[in-house]
Each structure stands twice: as structure tokens, then as C-alpha cells.
Symmetry: D3
Subunit: 134 residues, 6 copies
């Protein structure tokens, strides 16, 4: 089979996780957790989400991370928000940009989603700070 | 009273609507519609959303528009999406960036929200094309 | 069969719709619309929602309407919001209380749901004003 | 390129729409509407949704339609619900099964989503009745 | 009082929980937890959800479980999803059917809800495997 | 600067938390948690939510709490629900009124959101009972 999507998806995923041990291992852990119950879902994340969507032109990695984070804050799906705050930082978003993006959502989602997102951000920033000083 | 938030909010709002007759008139129409039922809500949009939040440092107008649009696509609140696709274009987002941002949301919201958002985008792009050639 | 819930539900529903032709006819229209596709759903609305829930002690009709309206604004289900703004007014909520309740939700749902709800409220208030002067 | 997903996706889509002119033309209309704004999204629907997901083993077409409809009722995304009530009927769901599935959701989504879905179902059933007698 | 709904509801509930100690005890635990704060809510679950809705004709127990699970995955209400994955298995859904139903939702809810649901499914399958080998 | 909103917001917040050590300390803890990541968000809660919105006329503190709780139950944002069940009790809502408000939402949100909310209510009531007997 000549479908290169899986390969391109893995390359793109690496751009979001390289130099980022915590995050790379989280992605591997997700794939691992899915292995015995739904291995194809892990494959679709690489092939479709990273291989088809993230590899498109027209937005930078940073912009795609900003879009993704804004959606996850709005949905309140916190495990995925934690993961994508990490991929966003690796893609080049600063902590300040992330806090500003979450703050920007107050008028559109109200305070509850924003407060829950800031709590996740605080945890992510603190883990990465610990890694950097380690 | 010395609170300059309303004034600063109006200035910021102008950055998102100037050179954009359709959009400016939509904002005025919202304020107008609220005038006899809830005038303070129109005031809070200017003072709080534009005066407090949009005027903050740390993200560009384009980035704030991207965050806002991503949240509105996720929520499926179409009248506000229509308005903020317009403010986003005025703030400097290209049509291609907007379509890419909506496409980026497929893995996070599924196709239904994305298809509904693209329909709104198509309408907005077409109205603005009509204005430009007028 | 001795189940009085349907009867009690109808009595309770009358408290929310009597003296309110627009609203009573809306309820009848809902039942009518359901008649050929899902008549039992209309029955469950009377028996369960009105017969079991609305007839409970511990909250006034006005308070139950306030709770219901707040949930419908949050969900963005506008046809039902329109109906329950009418039942709320008949139960004794003033237009001012309804506008205040919707405004109170800005910090909890953000502006989009609130603006959409105010538009529905404006329509309901205007129809009832037309009826009163008719 | 040897990726057969698009082809398999189209074949699977035909199973949900053949003998169903209204529905097939709706799918074509969606692809058509997307053509000038986001043609790749139409491609992903065929390749990923129909080519990757719907072609999987383990559930019948009828069961996949039931799952899809239940999610769309819960989300309240009505244009997609209308489409998938049609694909569900073509896949073999009866009108009675569809009404029962929507009714089954009352305890899980409450009445508002259910009433809005029944209204869409009524419209779909009526259009198809008109076609059959035409 | 001659209302048999509570009795019929309990019988129907037994069909979803018999031969399933974990699940039956979960249902009893829910009723127990509600006993001192809102005992009527436990009664409504039996009378209305099981007595009125689940006992209806037109869908099999397995189909009703599939509809319920699809809605709970979409909502992201995980404690209830855990419960209804159990009732679904007792009603005759296989683990493969459940995983397929969740996978079918990727195009309609996106990956986050699906990944969270698969995690709950993995937990439920593992607890039941433990019981069977116990 | 002459903006009194922060001051008025703090006064209003006190009405919802005075005589309520648990709750006051929760509010302080939120402000504290935000201090190093997003101190302005804590300021907006006081200035905008409490200073602008809660201080408005037209609804009593009890009514505002009822509206807020109904929205949070509907959204399923449990940390904020826990906080506002406490502010609601301090504002004068009885435990019975709170349980009734949650029960009233069954027909509008379905059982899952209601069961999750009752679990939070049970926890809040039990903590406050412990404090009173302490």
C-alpha cells in the first residue's frame, strides 16, 4: 500500500512533541492505552488528524494549536486540553499566549470553562517547569 | 466618573469594524436591538468584552479573532459566528485562514459543527464579495 | 386505571397557561404536532413533566419557571425557550425579572447564548404586547 | 496513488443513499456547496467517515445509523439530523424504530432535544411519503 | 394505587442487570445514595425511565442500550456512561459492538469524547473480566 | 481611578459568603490559585461578575443564585456548581429549594446531569453539616 498519510502524520506529530519528553510520552501512552481495545482509533489520530489535517497549508503549527486549544476549552474536555497545551507549547505558543487565549474566551464561554482551563494550564506549566530544572 | 473602559472598548471595536460597513452596521444593529430590552448588555459588550478583554496585550487582533471563531464553531452559535467571521476578516484573517481554522476543528468537534460553520463562512464571504464589487 | 398524574399534570399546566391564549395554543399545537408521529411523548410531557415534577412542593411556580428558563438559555434550545418565557410570564415572572435572569447568565454562559435569548424574549414580549392591545 | 478509501467510501455511501433520490441529491448538494469553499472537507467525508469508519466490521448499517442519529439528536445539529434520518431509513431503519430511538433519549437529554428531533423526523417522513406517492 | 409503572420498571431494570452483580449493585448504590437527599429521583428513574420508556415496543433492549450509550458518549457524562456500558453488556451488546459504536462517533463528536469513552469502556471491560475469572 | 466596581463587587460577594467560612475560603482559594497565572481573571470575577452583574436590581440574591445553579447543572461544570451551591445557601436558598431546583431540571436536561448535580449537593450539604456541629 502506498498511502503515506501515516508516515506524514507521524512526522507532523513529531513537530508538536520533539524536545518535549512529557508530551511525547503522553502521546505514546494514548496509543498504548488504545492498543488492546481500539488500535485503529490510534491509527486514525495519526493518519487522519495529523496526516490529513495538521499537514495542510494555510495555518502555522502555532495557529493550529491555538484553534485546537480554544475548542477544547469551550468543550471542557480536560484530558485532551492538557495534552494540547503541551503540544501548543512545543509548537511555539508561549505561556502568556495560552493564558491570553483562555482569558479571551471569558465573553464567549463564561467563567466556569475558563477557570477549569486555567487550572489545567497551571498544572501543565508547573510540570514543564519541573522538567526544565530537572 | 473616570472609567475609560467604554471609550477604549469603542476604539478597539472600531479596529475590528472600520473599513467594513456590513460589520459595523451589524454591531450597531445589535446595540440597537438591545436598546429597548437590555441596554446594559450592549454596554457590557463594549466595556467588558472590548474594553477589558480585547484591549489586553499578549495576542494580536488576528489571534483573538481566531480564538473567538474556534469557540463559536464549537458551540454552534451561528449568529455570533457570522458576526465574528466579519470582525476576523477586518482584523486581518484571510478567507483561507478562516477555512483552515474551521477544517482544523474536524478532529475536535466532528463534521456537523464544521459543515454548519462552512455554510456561514460561505454566506459571509459572498456578502463581502458583493460589497467589494458594488 | 387510577393514575391521576395526567389529570394533575393538565391542572398544573393550566396554571401556567390560563389567561394566556398565545401560550395555551402553543401547548395545544405541540400536542397536535406530536399526535400522528409520537403521541406518547405529548402524554409524558403532561404526566411526567407537569404531573410528577411541576406539581411537587418546595418551589413556587415562578421559581420553577426561573430554573427552566435558565437551563434553556444555557442549552440554546430556542423553540422551548420561547414557550417557557410565555409560561414564566403567566406564572408571574415580570418582563424585568426575565431580562435580569438572562443578564445574570453572562458570566456563566458568555454573551452568545445571552444575546440569542434576549432576541427570543424581545419577540415574546412584543407578541404579548400586541395581544394585550388587541 | 493506490489509496482505495475514496472509492470504498463512495460505495458505502451508495448503500445509504441508493433507491433514495432525495437523500442522494442532498449528499451531492453538500459536496457541491463545499466545492468552491472547502472541497477537501467533502473528500474527508467520503474518505474518512465513509471509507474508514462506516466500512468497518462489527456493526450493521442499521446499527451505525442508530448510533449516528442518537448523537445528532443529543447535539441538536438539525441539518445533519435531517440528512441522517434519511440515510437511516435507506439503511433499513423503520420510521417506528427512529421514533422509538428519539423517544428513548427523553431520560438522557430531556424533552427539548427530543421535541426538536421529532419535528425534523416529521418533516423527513412527510417528504418521503410525498415522493413515494409521486 | 394501581399504577404498575414502578413494578414494570423494576422488572425491566432486572433484564438489564440480572447476571450482572457489579451493575445491579451500582444501580442499588445510586438508589441508596439518593435515599437521603432526593428519594423521588430514584423513583422517577424506575417509574419513568424504566417503567415508561424502556418497556416500550419497537426497539430491542440491545438497541435501546446502543441509543443510550451513543448519547452519553456525546454528552461526555462519564459516570452514567460507565453504568450503561454495563447495562448494555448485560442486555446483549458485545464488547466489539460497544467499541464499534464509540468508534462510529469519531466523525460526529470528534476524537476527545471518543477517547474519553474508550477509557471508560476499558475500565468496565476489565472489571467484568476480573469478575468472571473470580 | 474612580471605578468603584471592584469595591462594590467585593461587598456583594461578601453577602454571598459571610457567615460561611468554607465558602469564603473557597473564593479566596480561587483568587489565590489565579494569582500567579492569571490575576486579572480573579479581578474580572469581582469587578464584572459581582460588581456589574450581581449588584443589579430586579432579582433577589436568592433568585440570582437559583439562575446560576440551574445553568451550572445544565453545563455539568461541577467545581463551579459546588461553589455556587454554597453561595446559594448563604444567600438564603434552603437545601430543599436546591434539591427541588435540580429535580425540576430532569425534564430539561435528562437524568445524567441531575444525578451528577445531586452528588455534588450531597457533598456540600454534608460538609456544611459537619461545620455546624463542629
Amino acid at each position: 500500500m502506498n498511502d503515506k498519510r501515516y508516515e506524514h502524520g507521524m512526522e507532523k506529530l513529531m513537530e508538536y512533541t520533539v524536545k518535549d519528553r512529557e508530551n511525547a510520552s503522553t502521546h505514546l501512552k494514548i496509543a498504548d492505552d488504545l492498543q488492546d481495545i481500539a488500535p485503529d482509533v490510534a491509527k486514525y489520530i495519526i493518519e487522519f488528524a495529523y496526516g490529513n489535517i495538521y499537514t495542510r497549508d494555510g495555518l502555522s503549527n502555532k495557529q493550529r494549536a491555538l484553534v485546537t486549544i480554544s475548542s477544547l476549552v469551550t468543550q471542557g474536555t480536560e484530558p485532551q486540553l492538557e495534552l494540547h497545551l503541551n503540544t501548543g507549547l512545543t509548537a511555539g505558543l508561549t505561556q502568556k499566549e495560552i493564558v491570553e487565549a483562555i482569558t479571551q474566551l471569558i465573553p464567549y464561554t463564561g467563567f466556569p470553562r475558563v477557570l477549569n482551563a486555567l487550572k489545567v494550564a497551571k498544572k501543565v506549566f508547573s510540570i514543564r517547569a519541573g522538567e526544565e530544572t530537572a
